[in-house]
Point group: C2
Chain length 356, copies 2
């Protein structure tokens, strides 16, 4: 073998690569994501997950899909059910943009931040009512603009600020105190727990719990039950009418306004811009990714064992291709997105672990 | 069990935690790093590694320590040997600070950047001679200051700029062209390959290779051989005098000027400030960490299988404690560093995968 010639091709690019979307195993083993650099697999990730239908049937599974996980931000579409089904979204005449923001881990770009602030004003509240902490934008141009204007991290800029505004809106509508809404014992959080329990089909009493990055409770239940919850969001015909309508409205809002779910250059935004109404997908910290497929009546939940966001994106792409949600035409359009290079000569590229 | 009372303790803090430095296995299995959130192990990392003495004896090993890896920036102390043993460091009267910078993956703070620029001027070169790409500081206050001054990423700010300045200095001293010094075929890189081969005791012909983040070649050889190279750096009495002197000088420079090896709040800087001359440690991208222990005559190399920097830091701490380099007094001083919380309500904390 002519080593020098063979090597030259790989050596033009200092960035690691995921070489082609991996095929997903059909034997129940975890999905393996290989991170290449030149001639070597430099690192590897193992991904566990499941695809469940709205009757609870297991369509596909990888690794230990019964393991409990924290869904993190990937469950935001489920948490948004209260905002919609309670009538709060209607009372305040929320559009798809606000509902998408309620499901968002956004970039902190001006469009996100300004829409959150206007929404707060619309419901008679301010940024001081938000109980998520101050955060800087994760999108570099927005970060730069913030510093150049001599400004700093704010609660409205927090990537979860849309979710929190949704919580406040629901609390107001339901007559709950707005203060302390992030506490486990607050009626809002307890109501959300009930929704998660019904959607997941899993009893949430006595299960492991913790505190999420933005201060709200996070509760653990199996990967497969997270996927089932998303399957019900995708195909809610079993559910009471108000909840079923809310499920459809949330999936529609996410897929109609994908930029508001994440932002510029973000993986889920780029995917949903191409796949349209077929897939409402949402990322979560520690390598979680979930999706609701309305046309297929399926729910997806994957979890990277080591928590890496870069691997969860590639794995979600592989699963969507496996299910035919990403067809050849979509794959051609999304090529650069589906086989991401992690830029390492500058700031961490969007879509890596910086996201919730 | 009183769940509410039990949970309250864990639930005050939204950050994940590494609960206590893990004990390292004594049965050859990988070191497992558990990432906790509340009541659940949310993610896990597997760490492979070895501790080797200067005769090549295996003192301790975890997982597959014969697996080939790219050492990434963790081999910078070995690459700095050419700068010193060639006489270049003496010709240009380099201090411990420049030698530490030659080994550095620095934060891009003004002290780092200004020292690099002054060094370049000292050898009759400029930032335009650097062939690493432009980069922004990874240390948030330095990043903020850069933006507030309406400046941007530069080559001098690149975290590898000290290493590259060391390369340029050696090239000038040896009469090599300075142009193209990052290319595999350049005499400088070929000379470095020879040094790595001798120090590692591993033939580097026909092995996997790639391009590192800053554009220089990266070459793969086993974890254990990386550790052996560091053992020789730690205890170079077998080596020819010029190289042995260079080994001692590099270890001394790193441990005397730890801030110049990394920077403010960085894990290795904080560790070396406490452990002093006992441990010259260096991080590398994709979860690599290496160390030379002069008083023990040992070398360490660990590699996190999934590439996570957060796990490599915890694992290095565990190994150093296992070897007695971190004693009780040092552990008390380093408590917050050894059991890091990853701050997730703001920018990524120093020490995570953003580093080379």
């Amino acid at each position: 073998m002519d080593n020098e010639h063979h090597h030259h091709h790989h050596h033009q690019n200092p960035a690691p690569q995921f070489r082609d979307l991996p095929a997903v195993p059909s034997d129940g083993t975890p999905i393996t994501i290989d991170v290449w650099r030149g001639d070597l697999i430099e690192s590897q990730h193992a991904v566990h997950g499941a695809v469940i239908d709205s009757h609870g049937g297991v369509v596909a599974a990888w690794g230990d899909f019964e393991a409990p996980i924290y869904g993190r931000s990937a469950i935001k579409p489920l948490l948004a059910l209260l905002l919609v089904e309670s009538g709060a979204a209607d009372q305040y005449k929320l559009s798809d943009r606000e509902i998408a923001l309620a499901c968002a881990s956004h970039n902190g770009e001006p469009g996100h931040v300004d829409t959150v602030k206007a929404w707060l004003g619309n419901v008679g509240l301010t940024v001081d009512d938000l109980e998520c902490g101050p955060q800087a934008p994760s999108y570099e141009p927005a970060l730069r603009a913030m510093y150049e204007a001599h400004e700093g991290p704010t609660r409205a800029r927090n990537n979860c600020s849309g979710k929190h505004t949704g919580f406040l809106t629901a609390a107001k509508h339901l007559g709950f105190p707005t203060k302390g809404y992030i506490q486990y014992e607050h009626p809002l959080q307890q109501r959300l727990l009930g929704i998660l329990e019904q959607m997941s089909g899993f009893s949430l009493t006595g299960v492991p719990r913790g505190v999420d990055g933005c201060g709200i409770p996070t509760i653990a239940f199996p990967i497969g039950h997270h996927a089932f919850a998303m399957a019900q969001l995708a195909d809610p015909h079993h559910l009471p009418e108000a909840r079923a309508d809310a499920c459809r409205r949330i999936a529609k809002a996410m897929t109609a306004e994908p930029w508001y779910v994440a932002g510029t250059n973000r993986y889920c935004t780029k995917l949903m811009e191409v796949t349209g109404a077929k897939a409402a997908i949402k990322t979560g910290a520690e390598g979680v990714y979930m999706g609701a497929l309305p046309e297929h009546g399926l729910g997806i939940c994957i979890k990277v064992a080591d928590g890496a966001g870069r691997a969860s994106e590639v794995a979600m792409g592989a699963v969507l291709r496996h299910l035919g949600v990403i067809d050849e035409a979509a794959e051609a359009k999304l090529h650069a997105t589906l086989e991401p290079e992690i830029k390492i000569t500058g700031r961490i590229a969007p879509g890596t672990e910086a996201r919730f």
